[in-house]
């Protein structure tokens, strides 16, 4: 893991030399933060270490952790990583978007469970009418967490399913509507336009909705995640990211690059396939996780 490797190189660390920063770059790159972000981070850290005239190994790690957390906070000064809800009696709508297999449908199931447990009235919209078994998958989740699903037959226009769902949510006084959509790669123009249309349908019926457009991102994705964030943001004004599958081996470091370039905050993280495996994003914890053993190791 990143932390273990970091610790290992700190253990071998003699003086603050160039090799040290080469290693730091390597560690950052291996956590998928991207080449440019890695270079920028290590340059700034190099500067800082020089400025403070740090020589001792333990001091270096202190400076680095402090600087990283500073930089992280600064990039996100105007960010708000809480989920937004409707300010009046009208239903809150969350629209889920993302590439194929990222974890949209599963995240909807988990979030439905959370709100259902909080006593809210939740409706799901089966807006993926394309992929084999997608509607059934959402319906199984609906049953599992005891929440109704508005669905139509496979291959019908997703915008019309979403239209029906919004109406039902309004007429039957639902608190929250979670809208599933088919996975699509961000370079497919036609499919991206379809998504735009789905969003338009929601806003036409409920001017303040969707309160959230959540881009679901597979935590093991590499640099392509930047392109995903850019394109989905252009089409649907993404308000937050759900980082999934961080129970796997990946660091999810790409969200650092996305944050730096696009200022889209991560709001939720998925760490498993069960209904309880969803957490609010905690930036400090995330950084801590990324650099855990560095922080722990700096005490000596």
């Amino acid at each position: 893991s990143f932390g273990a490797r970091f610790n290992r190189f700190l253990a071998n660390f003699r003086s603050v030399d160039e090799e040290f920063f080469d290693d730091l770059e390597e560690l950052l790159i291996e956590s998928d933060v991207g080449y440019e972000t890695a270079m920028r981070l290590s340059d700034e850290l190099r500067e800082e270490v020089k400025l403070e005239n740090v020589k001792k190994r333990s001091d270096v790690s202190d400076v680095i952790v402090r600087k990283l957390v500073d930089m992280y906070d600064e990039e996100g000064k105007e960010e708000d990583n809480t989920l937004k809800f409707s300010k009046d009696k009208t239903p809150t709508v969350f629209l889920f978007v993302g590439v194929n297999g990222a974890g949209k449908t599963t995240t909807i199931g988990k979030l439905a469970h959370r709100y259902q447990q909080e006593g809210k009235k939740v409706l799901l919209a089966a807006g993926d009418t394309f992929r084999a078994g997608a509607i059934e998958q959402l319906q199984v989740w609906g049953k599992r967490v005891n929440v109704p699903v508005q669905a139509s037959k496979a291959q019908t226009d997703p915008a019309s399913v979403v239209f029906d769902a919004v109406h039902r949510a309004v007429n039957e006084d639902f608190d929250i509507l979670l809208v599933d959509t088919a996975g699509r790669l961000q370079n497919k123009e036609g499919l991206m336009r379809e998504l735009e249309k789905i969003k338009r349908v929601i806003t036409r019926e409920l001017p303040d909705a969707p309160q959230e457009v959540l881009l679901v991102l597979d935590g093991s994705t590499g640099q392509n995640a930047l392109s995903q964030a850019k394109q989905f943001n252009e089409t649907t004004d993404v308000s937050g990211i759900v980082l999934t599958k961080i129970d796997g081996s990946s660091q999810g470091g790409i969200v650092l690059a996305i944050r730096n370039e696009l200022h889209i905050p991560v709001k939720l993280v998925g760490l498993g396939e069960q209904m309880d495996d969803l957490r609010d994003f905690d930036p400090e914890k995330f950084i801590y996780g990324l650099f855990k053993e560095l922080i722990v190791g700096s005490g000596e």
Binding site: E26, I29, E30, S31, D32, G34, Y35, E36, V99, N100, G101, A102, G103, G109, F130, R131, A132, G133, A134, E136, Q137, Q139, V140, W141, R144, A154, L185, Q186, N187, K188, D218, S220, T221, G222, Q223, N224, A225, L226, S227, K245, D247, G248, S249, S250, Q251, I254, E273
Partner: protein, 308 residues
């Protein structure tokens, strides 16, 4: 700028070196820095990049000057050669059993594209081999996984053996194979649930299926957008299952697909197919040279060199 291809990067470097007939050691270092950057931005694993750059540097320094190529073209040619070599040079066909059925098992992380690729393979075999494949529904965990497989199977016109979601997948596979023997299916494609390579319990389930079924082909299905972790994941699956081949999916996107190189490099197993869309006919035989070009983003430069 992120995502620049190697062509653009190298053009910049060479604009500063114009007029040179032969590359000095310093020139090669500059060039290799760009190659390294291009590979990392394509998500090729860091360690793999390191080894690769070293290899190319040595060859570039020792290279004879070819009159027909400029120094930049020459380096690109070496990079391209080495990358193609690393990726296996030639397309490797699917394994086939001496006696029917040929058994193919799909494995990989969650959401990689196993079920879809199972459907595509069946279609490919039906079209190219007049095959009569049968699927076994070995995913009892993902909601509606069986429904998905059945829909896919219906689209390609092949039967599915399933026992719902309450049985042990190993048992289901055993019974499915008996059914295939009875029906004299020539191919059996086993769909399995997505799992993490660090999930011991679920990885053990795959080992037990493997022991029972003796698959001719264990295909590791991988998402081409995967980052640095691709090498570790592939290594994990290969170590525990001794995979026989790789399918790389979602290459219809704009990813450079560096995961291909990482996976090939850490497992040494051939990439056999690539997925280029959600539709069931969007499966193609893998061509290492095209992939090399894509990872590096060499565009037209390569075509020029081929002609030289």
């Amino acid at each position: 700028m992120a995502f620049e291809g190697l062509s653009e990067r190298l053009q910049k470097v060479f604009s500063t070196l114009r007029g040179k007939g032969k590359l000095s050691e310093d020139d090669v270092r500059k060039v290799m820095r760009e190659v390294r950057m291009a590979l990392l931005e394509a998500d090729v694993n860091f360690d793999v990049v390191k080894g690769f750059v070293k290899q190319v540097r040595e060859r570039a320094l020792g290279a004879e000057v070819m009159d027909s190529l400029s120094p930049s073209q020459q380096v690109i040619k070496i990079v391209d050669d080495e990358l193609t070599k690393l990726m296996g040079e030639e397309a490797v066909p699917l394994n086939k059993a001496p006696h029917i059925p040929t058994i193919i098992m799909m494995v990989g992380l969650q959401g990689a594209g196993k079920t879809t690729t199972a459907g595509k393979l069946a279609k490919y075999l039906i079209n190219n081999d007049k095959a009569r494949p049968m699927f076994i529904a070995g995913d009892v965990y993902r909601p509606a996984a069986i429904e998905q497989l059945k829909t896919v199977a219906q689209q390609v016109g092949a039967p599915v053996y399933e026992e719902g979601t309450d049985k042990d997948p190993v048992e289901i596979v055993k019974n499915g194979l008996a059914q295939a023997a009875e029906n004299k299916n020539d191919y059996v494609i086993i769909d399995t649930a997505g799992r993490l390579e660090i999930d011991d319990k679920l990885m053990d389930e795959l080992s037990r299926i493997k022991e029972l079924a003796h698959p001719n082909e264990i295909l590791f299905v991988a998402d081409s957008m995967t980052g640095q972790v691709a090498a570790k994941v592939a290594h994990g699956f290969d170590e525990q299952l001794d995979i026989t081949g790789v399918v790389l999916t979602k290459l219809d996107g704009d990813t450079r697909g560096g995961a291909a190189l990482s996976i090939r490099s850490v497992t040494g197993k051939p990439i056999k197919f690539i997925g280029q869309g959600e539709k069931l006919d969007q499966l193609d035989v893998f061509h290492p040279d095209r992939m090399a070009n894509r990872i590096l983003g060499m565009g037209d430069m390569l075509t020029l060199i081929e002609k030289a």
